[in-house]
Symmetry: C3
Subunit: 352 residues, 3 copies
């Protein structure tokens, strides 16, 4: 069918021993048991594969009727059929790929798609109904465009991408390979730049570009503005949740994660492997160095630098330990005030 | 016409006595006066019905030229035409239904709608232009799908629902009866789940479902993610405002209200009749028990439990009274610091 | 082509002297140099026009190979080709208009646009593919509607507007002249109003209107709710960033700026020339007087009045100086607590 689907396609049935072979793990128990699906440990039935991470849900696993459980090496579960692997959660991802391969989207262009002359689509792309593709667009091999996707003039989309329905990409945006854009995402809209002159806000030119790296995923209804004169860029492997806002001229490094509803103001630089919580606000011209963690709802003041590897929280954001210490004292503030009153009374009494 | 409309259809003209009959109220004044519209008390003209709640806007009502005012029982307004009812605001809702019935949307399927073979639409649904309906979709009686709505494979929509233009529903989502989804809502997109391994974020399967209960309303451009392995659910009668984010595996109880731009992280459980303000952030695995009130912009830390009936505020959230006390002391902190300095000086003086 | 484009059209080539004439400025250096583009100072090449504001990036400008630099009057750059103007950034906007005029969008109605009988479109509008226009709609001269835009019954759009792809305008909304609505914007959706009665939330009628003034710009995926009984209005020249939420019955004055992800609750009044940061939350029935500045992430409690010209910050918001003083003391709270403990010890010692 034409639009991208999120659900699995045909289910494969695999024996435990077979799965263990694929995952490079060591099975124990009933190697001939047939696995037909996957589930969370607490919901898994006798046909399902589940996984435990570390030693956490031991009690749960004991009673679990799962057909097979992926466990960490050296943490066997006597009495259960298990596969020991190095990284159970990662092995679970691989197992899902084997058991529940994503539905194939037939290549082809829906007759209602409107494709400007001069646009270049690789032979096996899938273009859904009511897609609009402007002049000069290039779409790579294996990419799927959901219903109503709109690609502006000169947009380039790499290979094996999935653009879900109603994604809008403004002219000139470059999108890498294996990028996933969820429904309603807008990439390349004008940045928020005005000059206050003669009593009114006059629009500053928003002529720049957006470059989205390979393996980026962007959640539903998030918005990424184009650079004003330069470029907005999102590095390879970075993941954005839903309703995230990225302003003009922002540069986000590789392999970052940014949770829902966070807003990144203009000209912010974010290094590699930053982890940013939800509803964080980052002021303009902030520099967040690599490996940083920013707690949810934190606010970074404009122009600040967050040093490599720090964990910051609060508004204005400060190092977590400092914030926690401050906050603990804050909770005892009523008590402290009482104490000061009491001291004051005693001293006055003594002074009399 | 084809797409859902928000404005009223034909206006009915009703006499005050007639309206009183419908509303089960007691009229006073001019029972033959004709009412043709409704308005807020401060804007109501001689043809309009208005309402007062409690005793609040008495002064206003005194001067109000409204054709008729709905008032609480035992709170008559001598000199005005009124209808006494138990609950004036509720009666006003009923009166609007009588005076300004919503425009009928003619049943029928716009010729540009693309409906996969095997989709099952009840006979009197209304399907707007450029709607895309995939395989296995079921749509119930009286439901209206606005322009460009996209229903993924296997989606089920109940009876008498209204999906405004550009709503996107990913495959497999179940939607109850009388559900209203405003423009741009996305239901069923992938949750934000990755495993950091081998230096990059690897996508965790997002194979679960979304179940939306009866009488749910979701505001414009809100996003609801599917469960990863399990289900995301929103209980009957719950109302979400605009730009709300609901992550994977969240369960929201019945009859909750969640104001605009609030974000609910993964695996959160919310009980019945919770009231959650705007821009609230709820960390993952939080449990919010029934009847709870959460003040706007509050932040609930991951894993916390908010006990039944509490009113909490702040980040990290704490009981309102505690927060207010703390905050009052915070405002006097400069003064407290001065006092301590003064005490310190006095003691040092005495010690000398 | 049919949908609005954000990129520039044909490039003009202009000599420095020519540009100086257009900008009413005084050139120095090589008046015959040809300028073919524009760039930020740090990226400008020998064919580009750049600008400096005040004295800030002097060091940068010294080494800059820009073809021509716009500088403030009385701040010449010996050794560079410059144009002295009153307001370099504003002059830069004008220069861009001259050098890179926006691409012409050919007037015309795409054959796939669905236009109800009785809709009135001025002769030179541009209507993209899959646009849906309902009964009674009026669209003014020179307005461009991007792909998939949906205008509900009775909507009025003024002249020279740009509605980017997938904008949804609910019935009855009035939009002024030269308004820009970015992709995914929703105008006129139902406000969040319910009456809790008989154990469930009953929808309060949302019958009002939205009026958008001239020269308003609204960022991607922002949502503007219609009035419940009255009107929601956004004043002339006001600019909203991405993912902003404006609730029912809100009135925003002229020439305000509201940054990304800010939420304005019901019945809020905002005066002229307010400047509101990102992720601000404004409670219902708040009055923000003209000329106010509200710092990012601030929260204004319901019913509050923010007086003319104040700069407020924090949640609950207070005047900036007060907030800063409080916050400075907060940072020293651990120290203060230690001091009190020490005092307490000394006094107890002396008392013994």
């Amino acid at each position: 069918m034409h639009p991208p689907v999120a659900v699995a396609g045909e289910k494969n049935i695999m024996k435990v021993a077979e799965l263990a072979g694929i995952l490079g793990g060591k099975w124990q128990g009933d190697g001939q048991r047939e696995i037909r699906g996957v589930a969370a440990l607490q919901n898994a039935g006798p046909d399902d594969l589940a996984f435990v991470e570390g030693d956490r849900p031991l009690g749960l696993a004991d009673a679990c009727p799962a057909g097979c459980i992926l466990v960490a090496e050296g943490a066997p579960f006597p009495g259960h059929t298990t596969i020991e692997v190095k990284h159970p959660k990662l092995a679970f991802i691989r197992a899902v790929e084997a058991l529940l391969p994503p539905a194939e989207t037939a290549a082809g262009i829906h007759p209602t798609a409107i494709i400007a002359p001069g646009a270049h689509l690789a032979k096996d792309v899938s273009v859904g109904p009511y897609v609009v593709i402007e002049r000069g667009v290039k779409v790579g091999k294996g990419t799927r465009l959901g219903a109503g996707v709109c690609l502006g003039e000169g947009v380039q989309v790499g290979t094996q991408c999935v653009l879900f329905p109603r994604v809008v990409v403004y002219p000139g945006v470059h999108i890498g390979d294996r990028v996933i854009l969820h429904a309603g995402v807008v990439v390349g809209s004008d940045g928020f730049g005005y000059v206050l002159a003669e009593g009114r806000y006059q629009k500053f030119p928003q002529l720049g570009q957006v470059i989205i790296g390979d393996d980026v995923e962007i959640g539903s209804n998030s918005t990424i503005d184009r650079g004003s004169l330069g470029t907005t860029s999102i590095g390879q492997g970075t993941k954005l949740d839903n309703l995230v806002h990225v302003a003009h001229n922002v540069h986000i490094g590789k392999h970052c994660v940014i949770a829902a509803q966070t807003g990144i103001s203009g000209s912010v630089e974010i290094g590699e492997q930053a982890v940013i919580g939800g509803q964080v606000g980052v002021g303009d011209h902030v520099r967040i160095e690599g490996g940083t963690i920013i707690g949810s709802q934190a606010g970074i003041l404009p122009g600040k630098i967050v040093r490599r590897g720090l964990f910051v929280w609060g508004t204005p954001a400060r190092p977590l330990a400092e914030f926690k210490r401050m906050y603990a004292h804050l909770a005892h503030l009523p008590e402290l005030a009482r104490k000061v009153k009491e001291l004051s009374r005693r001293i006055s009494g003594e002074s009399r």
